[in-house]
Each structure stands twice: as C-alpha cells, then as structure tokens.
C-alpha cells in the first residue's frame, strides 16, 4: 500500500510539472492559477512602455498595469522639458524665461526629489551626468531633429555655438529649496535637460510604490529601461535578453536572470542622425561637446533604476578604466561595455547573472 501511495505522489508531481501553470498559495490556503499578461502604451517619455506580469485574472493585471501607467503619466507630465500642461508647473516651465529671467517656481515634491537625485548623480559621476547641460543638448536636439526630417540638409552644430552654450552648464545655478518646495535657475542662459535621469528615476519610484503595495511578479520596461519586481510566478528570475547593438553576430549578447534588479543600456544606436554619411548619436560628452566615442553600448545592472539610467550615460562618456573604478565602488552594480569593434568588457560579477534562455 505504501508503494502505491509513493507512486501516486510521484505521478502527481510529474503532471503538475507538465501542466506548467503557475500557482500561488493565497492566504486562505487555496491555490490559484496565475497567468501572464502584458500591456503597452506609447503615451509617455516619447517611447514605448511595456508592463508584463502574472495575475489571477486579466482584471487583476489591468488594475496593477493601469495604476503603473497612471503614475508614469504623472511623472511624464512633471518631468518633460518639451511640453507644458495647463495649470501645471513642470520641467518645461522651470526652463522658461519671464522678462529674461527664470522664475522661482513652486513645484510638486516629486520634482524636488528627482532634481536632488540628479545632483547626487552629478557628484557620483564626477559631472558626467549633468542635468544643467540643457543649453548644449537643446542645440544638438534641434540639429538632430532637422537632420532626421531632411537628411540632405543635415548639419552638425557649429562648435562656437556649443562652446558659448557650455558656459552656462554649472549645476550650482540650480537652486533647490526643499523646505518651500521651490526651484530657481539663477543663470538666465542655463536650461535643464533631465533625459539621463528622469525616466529611470520615475520607473524606480513606480516600482517601489508597487512593491510597497505587495505587488510581485511584474516587469516594467519603459523604452528599454527595465525594472523587475520580484521573480516570475514560478519563483525563477525574469529572463532579460540583451540585444546585440552591432549588426554582425548573434541576436543577443547574453541573457540575464533578474529578480528585483534593473537593467538599463545606453547606446549610440538608439537616437542618431547622419551628416555626410557619418553617424552622430545623442549622448554628448561634457568636455568635447560632441557625441561620446568610446563605446557602442554600456549596460548597467543594479538595484535602483534611476542609478542605472544615470550610470549608463556617465559610463558611456568615461574611459573603460574610469568606469570600472566607479562601478566597483558601488554595491550590487555590474556593467557590460561593448566597443565599436565588438570587443566586450564586463565587471567581475556580471557573469553571475547570465543564464540560459
């Protein structure tokens, strides 16, 4: 009799493995099957947002996804430098001049927190992430936009123009009053561009808010800024494929197993335009005022998505040695660099996250 019971249990295990549906032990002790769902949005941060997660039902998934998207929408309206919204002070209105001066602007606490975080990143990266570079970056943005619309008349910005703008990039002219929740730019020719920080920071804040609600088994992906929340429903890490930035070779450089971590890649292949057949991308070096040239892509795996976003931009502008030293000084932070000739370098702990798909 004992034997047949053993056999029965073994067969049950076999079939539960076969059925491959994920189960969750609920508080009442009842097992509920979890299914995977995905949602997409093109509304925020000028990119595509994908939310994937395991839930008991489409309704349960939609509740989480819609909450996340609503929060993303709020961060988008607060952090955008390109759009104004009726009755809302945001990065765009902070940048505006009134009678040739910036106003002292009363803003949402989320803007204060993000700007303080950006200042932290500026200090951490030795100035390679500088949200006060807006005047320089807006010139590149303008030339890139024209060049993409009409490739024949594409030009690179004149260096004198860039150098003149670069005189107005001192982040100390960004005055943040935490107590009164106000922001003032004290150099009239200075502008903020939070492109290297804001999206990752917003993703991190949303992920933390969801985690605080007990949400697990989700992935937020805002334009390649990937943040996992917990594991997959079966307890295994999420598999994130890192696409090969070069045309030659395999489709994916490697697959990484993430459970609560974030992965962000900065690449020269993401936003660019051509002038006389030469490619000019969007990551501008603070010293040369030209697109940084050392790498094709830099991927950062760490815990905080805002950190990953800022760090991937900073490391893209640093040398390999500088970047390695910075990465090694930070806890739980791994980096993969891809050089234009396809050579790859990584921090020592990177391979520990690599898995078979």
């Amino acid at each position: 009799m004992k034997k047949s019971i053993t056999l029965f249990v073994a067969l049950c295990l076999f079939f539960s493995a076969l059925s491959m549906t994920a189960c969750e032990q609920t508080e009442s002790g009842v097992h509920k099957e979890l299914e995977k769902f995905s949602a997409y949005s093109f509304d925020y941060f000028d990119t595509v947002t994908t939310i994937s997660g395991y839930a008991e039902s489409k309704e349960a998934f939609d509740a989480v996804a819609n909450d996340a998207l609503a929060q993303l929408g709020e961060y988008h309206r607060l952090f955008t430098i390109y759009h104004r919204f009726e009755g809302l002070e945001n990065l765009c209105t902070i940048n505006e001049l009134v009678d040739g001066q910036h106003r002292t602007v009363s803003v949402d606490a989320r803007i204060i927190d993000m700007l303080l975080y950006a200042k932290e990143m500026h200090a951490l990266t030795d100035g390679h992430v500088n949200i006060a570079m807006g005047s320089v970056l807006s010139i590149w943005h303008e030339y890139r936009t024209i060049g993409m619309d009409d490739p024949v008349s594409a030009e690179i910005p004149p260096m004198e123009k860039l150098q003149e703008a670069a005189k107005h990039t001192d982040i100390d002219h960004l005055v943040i009053d935490e107590q009164n929740c106000t922001v003032t730019i004290t150099d009239p020719q200075m502008k903020l561009d939070v492109g290297a920080v804001a999206k990752g920071y917003a993703v991190e804040m949303i992920a933390q808010a969801l985690e605080a609600q007990g949400v697990t088994g989700y992935v937020l992906n805002v334009g390649g800024n990937v943040r996992t929340i917990g594991t997959k429903a079966d307890g295994n890490p999420w598999t994130v494929g890192l696409e090969n930035p070069l045309d030659e070779g395999e489709d994916y450089i490697c697959y990484l197993g993430l459970a609560g971590q974030t992965l962000v890649t900065s690449g020269s292949y993401q936003r660019y335009y051509f002038v006389n057949g030469k490619q000019y991308h969007h990551i501008i070096h603070q010293d040369t005022l030209m697109p940084a040239e050392g790498f094709v892509s830099v991927s950062v795996l760490t815990k905080h998505s805002g950190m990953a976003d800022a760090l991937s931009t900073a490391l893209f502008c640093m040398t390999l040695e500088q970047g390695r030293a910075l990465a090694q000084s930070l806890p739980d932070t791994e980096v993969l660099w891809v050089l234009p000739d396809g050579t790859r370098h990584s921090t020592d702990g990177w391979s520990a996250y690599m898995i078979d798909p």
Partner: protein
C-alpha cells in the same frame, strides 16, 4: 491473503494511472495553442496569430489605414518585412520567436509581441 493485497494494489495503481492519463489528456486538449503573435496598436489589441502557422498580413494603422507594417510569420518566427514608417527600425529588427520578445514600430505605435500563457 498476501496475493490478494498485491492484486488490490495493482488495481489501485492501474485505476490511478488511468485517471491521471484522463486528466492529462484533458489538460493537453484544453491547453492553449502555444505561442501567439500578438499585435497591438497604441496599446489596443489589433489581432493575434499562432506562431506555428505561416501567415502574411498587412497591419494597417493611421487615418484610413494608410500606414502599413507587413508582418510575416514563417517557420515559427515573426518579423516585419516592410513598413511605411519613416525610420524603418521595425523592418530591420531580427525575427522574434521567444515568449516576451517584441518588434516595436514607434511611429505607427505598433507592437508585435510573442506571448505564451505559460
């Protein structure tokens, strides 16, 4: 007596195996078709196609459906063959076949994603 016990055990084991095969068969029968190619436009479901079936279809978007992304499903892989979008990034994207992989056309707000219910 011992023989009878063994016989009863065998009957029980046989019955259990039979039951499990029935349950297993039912599960196979009602299982979803496997991986699907799910197309969404601006976040809304547009259509979905089984990855296992070769298909060629134009995804029409924009006013009067003048924006086109030509989706091909062939040999268990999906790719965008051509598109009328300005950047053509979707058409240069490698074919996708694994759960969670996607091809995205930002200008047309089209997502071609591989989704599995596993």
């Amino acid at each position: 007596m011992a023989e009878k016990k063994i016989r009863n055990d065998l009957i029980l084991v046989g019955a259990l195996i039979g039951m499990l095969l029935l349950v297993g068969g039912a599960m196979l029968l009602f299982r979803s078709e496997g991986d699907m190619v799910v197309v969404t436009v601006n976040g809304e479901t547009y259509a979905s196609y089984p990855l296992a079936k070769d298909t060629e279809v134009d995804i029409l978007t924009g006013e009067n459906g003048t924006q086109v992304n030509r989706l091909i499903i062939r040999d268990g892989k999906a790719f965008v063959e051509s598109a009328t979008c300005p950047d053509g990034i979707c058409a240069s994207h490698k074919p996708v076949s694994h759960d969670g992989e996607s091809i995205i056309c930002l200008p047309h707000k089209v997502v071609v994603a591989i989704e599995s219910t596993k």
